[in-house]
Structure formats: C-alpha cells, structure tokens
C-alpha cells in the first residue's frame, strides 16, 4: 500500500496565527485556574502574545511566500493588515481591564476570544482561497458575536450580541452562496485561478452564475465593512457592545473586511474593474452620505461614532473605487490611521463613562475641557483627525484616498467625498462645543486614568500626529504593500 504524498508544509506564512492560537488556548486554560481578582494578568499575557506575533510578522516584509497549496500567502499586503489587527487588538485590550472592572464582568474569556478574533482577521487578510477567507471570517465572526454580547448583565449588550449574530449569520450566508456560485462558474476557489478563468473566458458578464456569485460576495463583504445599504446592524451593535469591543469592532474587523474584499476584487476580477467600479461608486456615495447624515443628530456618542464609522468606510470605498495604487494604498493607510484615532476616541469614552454604560451622551461631555484639559485635548486631536483636519493622520489618509480617486477620473466622487467630510465636521465639532464651550455639569471626579488606558491614549495620539506630520515612512509601507 503506497503512502499518500503529503505536500510540503510551511508554517512560516501563518506563524503569527499559530502563535496567537497557542496563546489563546493557553489563556483559556490559565483562565480557569486563576482566581477572578487576578484576571488582569491574562490581559498582559495576551499582550505578550500579540508582541511575539508582531515580531514574527516583521521578518516577512518583502519576502512573499505562499503555502498550503496556495491557499494562504504572506505578502506585504497581508503583513500590513496584520499589523493593523495586532495594533487594534492591543489597544482594545489596554482599555478593556478598566471598563470591564467597572461593569463587573471582568471575565477571563475576553482575552482568548480577542486573540481568536485576531487569528480570524489574519486569515482573512492572508487567505488567497475563498475557503480560507471564509474560514477566517467565521472564526472572527463567532468570536465577535460573543464579544458584542459580553456584558451579560446589560440588556443592550445582549441585544447587540443577538442582533450581530442574526445579521452576521445572514450576511455570511450571502457570502458563502456567492462563493459557491463563483466556484460553480469557474470550477475553483483559488483567487488566482479565478483570475485566470476570468482572463481566459473574456466576457464573463454573459455567465449569469458568475455575475450573481460576484454580486453576492460583494453584498457579504459590504455587510462586514458596514457599507450602506448593508449597514443597518452597525449602530445598534456598536452602541450596545461593551465600549472597548466597539472600539475593536469599528477598527479591526472593518479593516479585515476590506482586506478580504480587496484581495478578491482586485486580484480575482481585475479585468472586471469597470464593472466593480460602477458598483463600488454607488456603495461609496451611499455609505458616506447615509453615515454622515444620520450621525448629525445622534446624542449617544457611541452611536454617533458608529455612524461616523460607516461614513469612514465610505471614504475608504472611494479609494477602492479608484482601484489604482494611490486609492488602494490609501485604504491601507486610512485603516491604520482610523484604528489610532477611533480607538483613541473610544479610550476617552471608556474613561468618561460610568457603570452600566451611563454617561455616554454628547451632553455629558459638558465642561470636560476645563476639568481635564489634557484628556480633552487628546479627544480633540482624535476628533479633528476623524474630521480630516491637518496635521493629523486622518488628513493624510483622506488626501491619499481622494487623490487616488481624482487620478482615476472619479472627480465627482471626490467632490461628494469632501462635501461629506465637511458635513461630518459638524458632529465632531459638536462634541468639542460641549467639551470646551459649555459649563461643566459634573465634576468628572469618578474618572480614573489607569496606566494601561494612559498608554493606549499616548499610542493613539502619537499614531495620529506622527503620520500627520511625517507620513513618509508609513506611506512608503502602504505603497509597498499594495504592489502585491
């Protein structure tokens, strides 16, 4: 009896995933043996895991490698995104301990779940097979459903978890059906092979199965990046989920969704760029406009940032529509900057909030500027960055995206983009109006700045301002990452 030939297995491309999985399992075990008052150490341990995984990432830059029969790949594109994920998770972990202690649900499962979610995101970014991407998406999603409903004592958190689960499962169905149809039409799930099929068979638009598959996949990914009109779940989930998890969800999984979407759309269907662009054009305009318009009259700051995060996905879609080097590199840069500014803002929200998700209204920030000038300044920096004012990373990111759009000839899209961004300034200013121009109602004496949160805020401020002033390094990285 002959033995089955085992293909060569190279773990190098998925080293970070392997390390994080091991750490997650170790944490899971440690968690059940550690008394509840020492749960904070689990956080530190998971940070160690992230750092170790980060080190294994660095070496791969510029040395592309694919493994497991071409179903995962290590290229600059995936490494850049994995960096974003590690950063996002790390910062969210830094603000988690304080929040969950206050909410009295500081359970150790949080950290393994976050690490598993990271593994999922990483697989999405490095998957070059529809199945790998789907696998990553599911690992991510299942962890997220639990994380969104993590605060079991809070009704809104439960609602968020359930809603996210139902709509997430629904969208996963779309995605999987789209993948199945694409497989049916092309006979392969390898992204590269699909691209070959597309280029060989000329006018694929005449094959309805393929077109429908493509559209369904676009719908599935649009759900994940919360692009309008598939954004309905976002506000409720973001508002209800525990604040650090909202911070995480708005930055990490969104970036992962973009990574997978870009991988599929730009590699597999390059010859269909024109068709994609028409679709993305509409998505981008809808997403920006709906996100910004509804954000204008939100009182709950988490909800406001949820809508704003929809709008930011819209800006990124502008670069996606452009589809050129500037636009796609712009998305990478923007996702990184967005992680810094958004999680920074959420860190402040964690600080200002009270037990039971109280004190999350914009009005509750009245007089914050006089009571805590430094923290308020940090918040102002984040908000200005979200609004795209120079000299912040948010400005450079938008500049990048819009110049990509103009270069590709989408001048109107860029104009709609900047008009949107002008409108968005209103609701960011509103927070600042309350922080600086209203008299304090409260003393903000319950606020306690723990070192972990302080570190997170410092990282965020540096991450927002440094690329805003000297962006050359990150721009080069982003540019190298999209050479694919």
């Amino acid at each position: 009896m002959e033995t089955i030939a085992i293909p060569a297995i190279n773990f190098a491309p998925i080293m970070p995933e392997v390390i994080l999985s091991i750490f997650a399992m170790v944490l899971l075990l440690v968690n059940v043996f550690v008394p509840s008052e020492h749960k904070a150490y689990l956080g530190y341990l998971s940070l160690v895991g992230l750092i170790v995984a980060g080190f294994t990432l660095i070496g791969g830059w510029g040395v592309p490698l694919s493994a497991f029969n071409d179903s995962v790949v290590r290229d600059n594109f995936s490494i850049f995104f994995k960096g974003i994920f590690l950063l996002t998770v790390g910062m969210s972990i830094l603000i988690s301990d304080q929040y969950f202690k206050r909410e009295e649900c500081n359970l150790g499962e949080l950290y393994p779940l976050l690490l598993f979610a990271t593994v999922g995101m990483m697989l999405m970014a490095s998957g070059t097979d529809l199945m790998t991407i789907f696998l990553g998406l599911e690992v991510l999603s299942v962890s997220l459903y639990i994380l969104a409903g993590f605060n079991r004592a809070n009704v809104k958190s439960n609602e968020a978890g359930l809603k996210y689960f139902l709509l997430g499962a629904f969208s996963t169905g779309f995605l999987l059906y789209g993948m199945a149809l694409t497989y049916g039409a092309t006979g392969t799930t390898r992204v590269v092979k699909i691209a070959e099929y597309v280029s060989q068979n000329g006018v694929v638009a005449q094959n309805p199965m393929f077109v429908i598959g493509m559209l369904l996949m676009a719908v599935g990914f649009s759900f994940k990046i919360a692009a309008a009109p598939f954004h309905m779940w976002t506000p409720d989930v973001y508002e209800g989920a525990p604040t650090p998890m909202t911070a995480f969800m708005s930055a990490g999984p969104k970036a992962a969704g973009f990574a997978a979407f870009m991988r599929v759309a730009i590699i597999a269907f390059p010859s269909l760029k024109a068709d994609w662009s028409d679709l993305l054009w509409i998505l981008a305009v809808l997403t920006m406009t709906i996100g910004n318009l509804i954000a204008l009259n939100q009182d709950n700051i988490k909800r406001m940032l949820a809508y704003s995060s929809i709008a930011h996905a819209g800006y990124a879609l502008v670069g996606f529509t452009a589809g050129n080097a500037e636009g796609t590199a712009g998305i990478l840069f923007y996702m990184l900057s967005y992680a810094f500014m958004n999680i920074g803002a959420f860190a402040i929200i964690v600080l200002v909030g009270k037990k039971g998700e109280a004190n999350n209204n914009v009005m509750d920030y009245a007089g914050f500027g006089t009571k805590h000038p430094v923290l308020a300044l940090a918040m102002a920096v984040f908000l200005f960055s979200l609004a795209g004012m120079p000299p912040t990373a948010g400005f450079i990111g938008k500049f990048y995206l819009f110049s990509g759009a103009i270069k590709a000839g989408y001048v109107w899209l860029a104009i709609i983009g900047v008009l949107n961004s002008a409108a968005s300034v209103y609701y960011y200013l509103r927070v600042m109006v309350y922080m600086y121009m209203k008299d304090p109602v409260e003393e903000f004496d319950w606020m306690k700045l723990t070192p972990a949160v302080a570190i997170c805020i410092i990282i965020a401020v540096v991450g927002v301002l440094l690329p805003g002033v000297v962006p050359a390094f990150l721009l080069n990285l982003a540019q190298q990452a999209v050479l694919l």
């Binding site: 006089t370 000038p373 500049f399 819009f402 008009l419 209103y426 000297v470």
Partner: protein, 496 residues
C-alpha cells in the same frame, strides 16, 4: 545672507510659545508675560526683517523676488515639499501678523479672566498658522496652515465669545472648511494635471506657475480656489458668516479675524490663484469685479442699518475687502499694489476699530449705538482715537486707507473704467455710516449715564502706536510701496 532658517523660526516661534505655556498653565500671572514675550520676540524678528529685508538680494535657489527661501523634502512620495519663501508681499503680511498678534494680546490683557492660558495658547497657535499661510509656497503645506489657523479661531469665538457664540463659531468653521476642502481637491487636480503635462509631479508653486495649466479643467480648478478664498475674503454673497463671527467673537478674536484672517483669502488669490491659472483667472475677472463692486455697495448699505457697533464695523470690513478684490481683479501693477497696501491698512484700521469697540464694550457692557452718546466729553482720548480710526476707515485723505483705495481705483480705472466708476460711489458710502457711527457714539448728547473712564496707559499706548502707523502710511506710503514694487511687477509680468 544668513544661514539661519529665519522663516521656520517665524512660523514655529509662536508654537514654541504654546509649549512654554504648558508648565505654567494654571498661573495667570505667569501665562500672560510669557505669551506676550513670545509675541513681542516674533514682532521684533518681523520688524527687523521689515527694515533689513528689502535690501537683500534674491536668495540662492529662489525665483526672482524672494529674498528668503527654505526648501526641504517633506513627503517625497507625493512631491510635497517643505517650501517656504518670503518676498515683499509675504514680508508685509508677516509683519502685519506679528504686529496684530501683539495688539490682540494687549486688548485682551484684562478682558480675559477665565482660562487665560488656553486663550493665549490659541492666539499663539493662530499666529503660527497665519504666518505659515503667508510663507508657505508648497500647495499642501499652504493648505495645512490654512486649516490649522481655523481651529484656534473656532475655539476663541466659541469659548470667549458673546451672544450666539457657539452658533457663530460653528458657522464660521463649516463655511470656511467647505470652501477649503474644495480647494484641496483643486490642489490635487492641479498636481495631477501639471504632472501629466510636464512629467514632474509637484506641489511647489514656483514649478507649477512656470507651466500654467492650459487644461479644459482650469476654470473649474480656479473656481474652487476662488470659492475658498472668496469665503475667507469674504466676497458677496458668501460673506454671511462674517457678521456673525465678528459680532460674537471676543475682542481679540475680532481683531485677528478682521486684520489677519480676511487677508489670507486675498493673499491666497494673489499668491496662488492668479499665478497658477493666469488664463482662467482672466476669464473670471468680470465676475470677480462685479462681485467686488456689489459687495462694496451692499456692505455699505447694510452697515448703515446696523444698531450694533461691532456689526457695523464688520460690514465695513466686507466693503473694504471688496476694494481689495477689485484691485486684484484688475491685475494691473498699480491696483495690485493698492490692494496689498489696502490689506495692511484695513488690518490696522479695522483692527483698531474693533479694539476700540471692545474697550467701550468692556466699560459699559453694551455695543448698541443707541446706548451711547457723549463719549467725546467723557473720555476725550478714547473718543479722539475713535474718530481718527473711523475717519481712516471712511477713507479720509491723509490717513492710511485713502492711499490704498486711491491706488486701487487709479489702477482699475485703466482696465475697467465702469467698475471703477461705480466703486467711486463706494468711497463715499462709508462716509455716511461712519458719520452716523461717530455722531451717535461720540457727539450725540448723552442718552443714559455711562461709566466711561478714559483710556488706560496700556490702551493709550496701543492706540497711539496704531494711530502712528495709520497716519504714517497715509502720509508717506512709499517705503511699503517700494517693498511691493518688485513682487508686484513680477506677478503682473511688468518687470523690466
């Protein structure tokens, strides 16, 4: 002549001042001298340049006319450079900035009692931003400073303002931002079109201006620039943010807003708008002239109807800036020098008027014309200065505004006589509301008993300096015009 990065120092010295305020944040007594010290140091530097720079040769590597020049790589991927340069125009504007900042600090010396450190922090930050706008020659760098100067003004109006301060602050911010974001797109457009045409992708003004855009999109691009600048100017009909912002701003804010921020719009048009799109700009000349003339007449008319002193002065600003726009639109050397001179004049005069209104407001807590009367008898020194600057604002010969307006009209008369003819009416109209202002406030019999102590030493000294500058420009504008001669000739293509 010197290897010191003087321009960088000019921009970042106030910013350094901001940082120095941090350690003494809550000690009002320490904050004010430190802030003022930095502002005065900046003024000294600018003053020194004003005296020595006109004699300097062109800096190495710089185009003709620029005697200070700094060029360094910044974001090479996009061809964005840290490019600063100073010619006669930026020199005057920079000196005005440094001077007005000191004035703004002086007028708010006593008025601001709450969150003093933040107040001076914002003024210094704004000085950095405005200085950057006047010195930057890279479009993106310019845009960066352009946006940076918005933020402190938003907070100044919103925190220390009066009345509907928050509404005004937000309106100001959104109005200007909407315009400038479109300008950003136009900047990117210029970059790409120029890059496609010539092969060098750059945002540097000297390179871009060498090969002006001859693309069909040029009018649109110029339109976007014009919109951003017109909002700042402010030109009719996008001026509506100004009366609100001016009226509700604190005195220091009004002074800076009127004297400096409005100038950035005019400066942008002169420095970037016309040189980048000479062809397209010519096409816009009729529109710009019409808007300017309409603005002049309309603003004067509305100003007459105001009951609030500050609002009246604010509308007079719209009128004066209309003259500046008219001069720029004609793009003849005489009118252009007049416009730039008028920018300085308007800065001094209107700045002084806002300061005076602020002083009256501080004393009596009202800015209603109807509340005043008999100030001449009660506070003669204050009244004297009030009369002087009001008359200067109305364009009385011998005072500074007259020289600017005269030059503008003289220049415009050659290019578009019709516009000049109508604008002549615009010279007379301000006299009407100014006379009303002066009559109601100073000479009307006292309508109600007012607590009106005369000017203090600080205020007196400040006003005296402003008056001195006003009168000396009015009598002898030649030194300033000499500074402007070379850059204006270069800009209008009439250099020998």
């Amino acid at each position: 002549m010197t290897s010191y990065p003087i321009l960088t120092i000019l921009i970042f010295l106030p910013l350094a001042g901001c940082l120095c305020l941090a350690p003494v944040w809550s000690r009002r007594a320490a904050v004010r001298p430190i802030a003022l010290g930095f502002a005065v140091a900046e003024l000294a530097l600018a003053g020194w340049l004003l005296v020595t720079a006109p004699g300097m040769p062109t800096a190495p590597g710089a185009p003709a006319g620029y005697f200070l020049w700094e060029d360094a790589a910044w974001i090479e991927r996009f061809g964005i450079r840290y490019l600063l340069g100073m010619d006669g125009i930026s020199l005057l504007m920079g000196a005005l900035t440094a001077f007005i900042t000191v004035v703004a600090m002086a007028v708010s010396w006593r008025a601001v009692t709450e969150r003093t450190a933040l107040h001076y922090f914002l003024i210094l930050l704004m000085e950095s931003g405005i200085m950057g706008v006047f010195l930057a020659l890279d479009l993106v760098l310019f845009y960066l400073f352009w946006e940076v100067m918005l933020i402190p003004m938003f907070f100044l109006i919103g925190i220390w303002g009066h009345g509907r301060r928050i509404y005004s602050a937000v309106k100001f911010f959104l109005y200007t931002l909407a315009g400038s974001l479109l300008m950003l797109l136009a900047i990117i457009g210029v970059y790409l079109i120029h890059g496609d045409a010539t092969g060098t992708y750059t945002f540097a003004l000297p390179l871009l201006a060498k090969a002006p855009i001859a693309h069909a999109a040029a009018p649109w691009l110029f339109g976007a620039f014009l919109l951003a600048f017109a909002i700042k100017f402010p030109l009719f009909p996008v001026h509506t943010w100004l009366p609100d912002a001016h009226t509700d701003a604190p005195t220091a804010g009004s002074v800076i807003l009127a004297a400096l921020l409005l100038k950035t719009g005019a400066y942008g048009l002169v420095r970037f708008g016309y040189p980048l799109f000479p062809e397209a700009a010519r096409g816009f000349t009729p529109l710009l002239s019409v808007l300017a003339v309409v603005g002049i007449l309309y603003a004067s008319w509305i100003a007459y109807a105001q009951e609030d002193m500050k609002r009246m002065v604010a509308y007079s600003s719209v009128g004066h800036m209309g003259f500046v726009a008219l001069g720029i639109a004609s793009w003849s050397p005489v009118a252009l020098s007049g416009s730039i001179l008028q920018m300085v004049n308007h800065g001094v005069t209107t700045g002084a008027l806002f300061a005076l209104v602020g002083m009256l407001d501080e004393r009596t807590d009202t800015r209603e014309l109807a509340a005043y009367g008999g100030v001449w008898g009660k506070a003669p020194k204050l009244a004297f200065f009030f009369l002087l600057f009001a008359m200067a604002s109305a364009g009385l010969p011998g005072l500074n505004n007259f020289t600017g307006e005269f030059l503008i009209l003289a220049g415009v008369f050659r290019t578009t006589p019709a516009a000049a003819a109508i604008a002549f009416i615009g010279i007379v109209l301000p006299l009407i509301y100014t006379v009303r202002l002066v009559q109601e406030v100073l000479f009307q019999t006292e309508r109600q008993p007012l607590q009106l102590p005369d000017v203090t030493l600080r205020e007196g000294a400040l006003l005296a300096v402003l008056a001195l500058i006003g009168v000396s420009i009015g009598v002898h504008p030649k030194p300033l015009l000499d500074i402007l001669k070379v850059p204006v000739a270069l800009l209008t293509g009439t250099a020998p």
